[in-house]
Symmetry: C2
Subunit: 541 residues, 2 copies
């Protein structure tokens, strides 16, 4: 009798629900209604609680963003240095620091890694009933990495050493924390990633982000914040300090010579041209000419620390278009080895001071750039000194074809460094008596062999870091040497005049600051030893 | 009969001489012959005597020109410092020095004024029978001024003080003297003329040669040899030493930032354009942007000593196109006066050190450039600090029309210096709170008056030597300030990025090294405080 329908449910509806079905539905509705009521109640309660908490947030004054710092007030509350907190267990301290990373556990606790230059320390924020509220913890957990905060808290001894921080024996129990400045943009990389050693990345099973040098240099302000880079540039400053200290003790005076020059001179290396009012000027490729003029001016012993500019299109690990030259020049009494020996003593004093006074920084850098410790000879015979001819012989003995050794190229320089290291166990040595054709016009010829010169190079880990010589102080010979290298003496009149007015015998050398830093620490690329490097492809930042 | 001739002599000849005439002639010839014979005899005798003297010149090995110094040998004979000879009376010494002047008396004695850097000493050569011969004295008397000689002799106490030398209580009795190097050209001026005080020239009845600044700068190598200039540049080196010493004690680290920049930015001052491979670069007008980036990189306290370049066509006594900037930048905890006060302490430390440790050099310079001693306040209230508004009031009280005092121009700056000197007896003071319109975009506005800024200038003898301020560290406000000065923030992206990554409040200042030196010593022209000055018209030597 019933018509077959396409929709059995409909037909069922048509028939009306059964009594059982109705009971079941009512129960469910009742259940849903109660659940909704409960939920609404809960939500209302939560909201009320949050509102109450917020309204009554006892910690409100203990956290938050500070107004823009315009020097509004000066309460004279001293800030602490995290490196010195190990001595202050139990004391209340105030520190300004970066948040390197933060980690919240539940909603009651945040761990912060706080950083000041080469040091990091752990800070802990735990909800309590006096000064740290839940909203405070939540707010802190939401602060982006690299925020600068003003933190107040008590120095505490943790149960276990904090391995991830440089200050391992104490931590800070934070009671107040305010934001001074926060990044506005997403960080291009984390400082943890930027601080990781390359061998750690290679050897670990974890997948780490490797921050490429190019990315670092494009975001140099961030990259420079790693404890490694803080240490690198602290060490750069120490090298110039040691350089000056030693030279000062030897009667040298610091000079400053102009980088703007009237003529593009000195040597074959290319120079940068500058528009100078209605004419042109050129950037000095070195203070060579000027420091020699200072000697002709009777300053006797001079040094200069300043930029030198090279317009060479060299895109290598060790060339920059602008770098810091450590230059010195001094009169000679009897023999140019007076200069060479003083330069040797200068380097030894820098090395010894780095080892004695900068151990912490060298260790920090070593974590990211592991290197065999830099070695030099300290016995009574002192630094290894080879002649150019002896250096060539060592290379020939090692299998290099003598016919290619008119000059020692970069590859053979490195090979020589390895040979010397193997044979003499030193990363530092001197080569003396270079052939005349390899040296600039102002180099004094050897008195016994006109094909050789009174000149020397210094090496660290198989790379040249200093070039120097006795200079020609006689104007006749100087003019002759210039002409032989295709330079018209009259094109360098100001320089020539110095010698025509009488000039004492003298010699000196030029050191590349960044190379010394790179090679001592084995940073493998000179850009890592320069705050904001310049090369043919980089003028920014 | 005789034909008149045009040539009476011929006609006379034709007649033949008279007898009297012949006698007269014969007498004369005889006389001439005898005279010639006598002369020849005399000459022969003189030659023979000279040859004999020369052949038997017992002093031959004790004087003469040395062969070109090519480091032929190294006998290890130490040289002496003339400044220390007062302690060596009776001793035999060996010194290398310049001959500033020489004076022969008869042919048996020569007095030499021998010079080493800031010191001069008298040397005497007297003919005797053991080591000093007449040819030796003659040869020495013929040596040109500014020759470099190697002198051996005994230190002796003269009967009277030698007023013309800096070493007054001893002289050298020369036994050997050899020439190392001599000028090849005529000196453009003597060192005595170049060393004379201007008031001495004006007040003396003698006619002295006044060596003009332009002549000095054209022959700077010679000019720099005066004891005055030797002292000036010794003092320049001391100022940078004191600068570094103080900052190092305050936790600063030395940095080096690039002078080659991608964009011509910062302020209205003109910049030099450099051809950079296929594009252009610009020379940094100051390390301002870079040192702020170092602060954004967390270096906390940095300083830099390096060249800054200004393409301004200013031909004044106090402008150079290239000078040495002493720049520093530091984080601020509470108030920018932390920076201002540190800078004040820095200057006081430089002044005190100059007075305590450089008395001799300051005195030497004072002989040629007489000046009232530089004064600063040392009482408990310390350095005088005026606000810009107070400085304007002082000028108005002194009669300057207030309507021209939106800015304080160079003339009023000097006037203010005189007012302050009269009222407070100090050559050194600070002006704080400059109007916003006078300061660059990166200057932090005053929290209470947006027309003012948290900025200051320091003055010496009525001239500005330092400019500094709290900087804007907030990227939003910084972009706003840039736009208000017509600069597109995106044109300085590398700089802006530093602030977008979070930057602590900070401030600093820039000091012109040459200005400090010029004003402390009252040299009256900045070119005298620069070894080889550069201005719109000078690129050489």
């Amino acid at each position: 009798m019933s018509e077959p329908t396409l929709n059995p449910t409909e037909s069922t509806e048509d028939k009306g629900p059964s009594k059982n079905e109705l009971k079941k539905r009512a129960k469910e509705e009742e259940k849903n209604r109660k659940a909704a009521e409960r939920k609404a109640k809960e939500e209302k309660a939560a909201k009320a609680k949050a509102a109450a908490e917020d309204a009554a947030d006892f910690a409100k004054q203990y956290y938050g963003k500070l107004p823009l710092h315009q020097s509004q007030e000066r309460p004279n509350r001293p800030r602490n240095d995290v490196a010195l907190l190990s001595e202050k267990v139990g004391e209340n301290v105030l520190i300004r620091a970066r948040i390197q990373t933060s980690r919240a556990t539940g909603n009651k606790m945040v761990f912060l890694m706080l950083r000041q230059k080469i040091d990091t320390i752990q800070g802990i924020l735990t909800v309590d009933e006096e000064s740290v509220s839940r909203p405070m913890v939540k707010w802190v957990a939401g602060l982006p990495d690299e925020s600068i905060v003003l933190v107040e808290g008590v120095v505490d001894k943790p149960k276990e050493e904090i391995k991830s921080a440089t200050v391992k024996d104490v931590e800070i129990k934070i009671s107040q924390i305010h934001l001074i400045s926060a990044p506005e943009v997403r960080l291009p990389f984390t400082l943890d990633d930027a601080s990781r050693a390359e061998n750690e990345i290679e050897n670990s099973e974890k997948q780490f982000n490797n921050v490429l040098l190019e990315t670092r240099l494009n975001n140099r302000v961030l990259d420079l914040r790693t404890t490694t880079n803080q240490a690198v540039f602290k060490l750069q400053g120490s090298i110039t300090d040691f350089f000056r200290e030693f030279l000062s003790s030897q009667g040298f005076v610091e000079i400053h010579t102009p980088k703007l020059q009237a003529a593009a001179t000195e040597s074959g290396a290319s120079v940068f041209k500058v528009s100078y009012f209605k004419g042109n000027a050129y950037l000095a490729q070195s203070p060579q000419l000027a420091k020699q003029m200072a000697i002709a001016s009777d300053f006797e012993r001079v040094y200069e620390i300043g930029p030198v500019f090279r317009a060479e299109d060299s895109n290598t690990h060790r060339h920059l278009t602008e770098f810091i030259g450590l230059d010195l020049e001094m009169t000679i009494e009897e023999h140019y080895h007076e200069v060479m020996e003083l330069l040797d003593q200068l380097f030894l004093s820098i090395f010894k001071n780095l080892r004695a006074k900068c151990q912490k920084e060298v260790e920090i850098v070593g974590r990211q750039f592991p290197a065999e410790e830099f070695k030099w000879l300290e016995g009574p015979e002192g630094t290894l000194k080879l002649t150019f001819a002896q250096a060539v012989d060592l290379l020939v003995e090692d299998g290099v074809d003598r016919s290619v050794l008119d000059d020692i190229n970069t590859e053979n320089e490195k090979r020589l460094g390895r040979i010397v290291k193997g044979k003499y166990d030193t990363d530092y040595f001197i080569i003396d008596k270079f052939p005349a054709e390899l040296r600039p016009f102002y180099t004094m010829p050897d008195p016994n062999d006109p094909k050789l010169t009174n000149s020397y190079d210094f090496f660290m880990r198989g790379e040249e870091i200093l070039s120097g010589a006795q200079r020609v102080h006689d104007p006749q010979l100087l003019a002759e040497r210039m002409r032989s290298k295709g330079i018209d003496p009259e094109s360098m009149k100001g320089y020539m005049d110095g010698f025509r007015l009488g000039c004492p015998p003298h010699g000196g050398g030029g050191i590349g600051l960044e190379r010394v830093l790179m090679l001592f620490l084995k940073l493998n690329n000179i850009r890592r030893a320069t705050m904001f490097p310049r090369d043919p492809k980089r003028l920014e930042p």
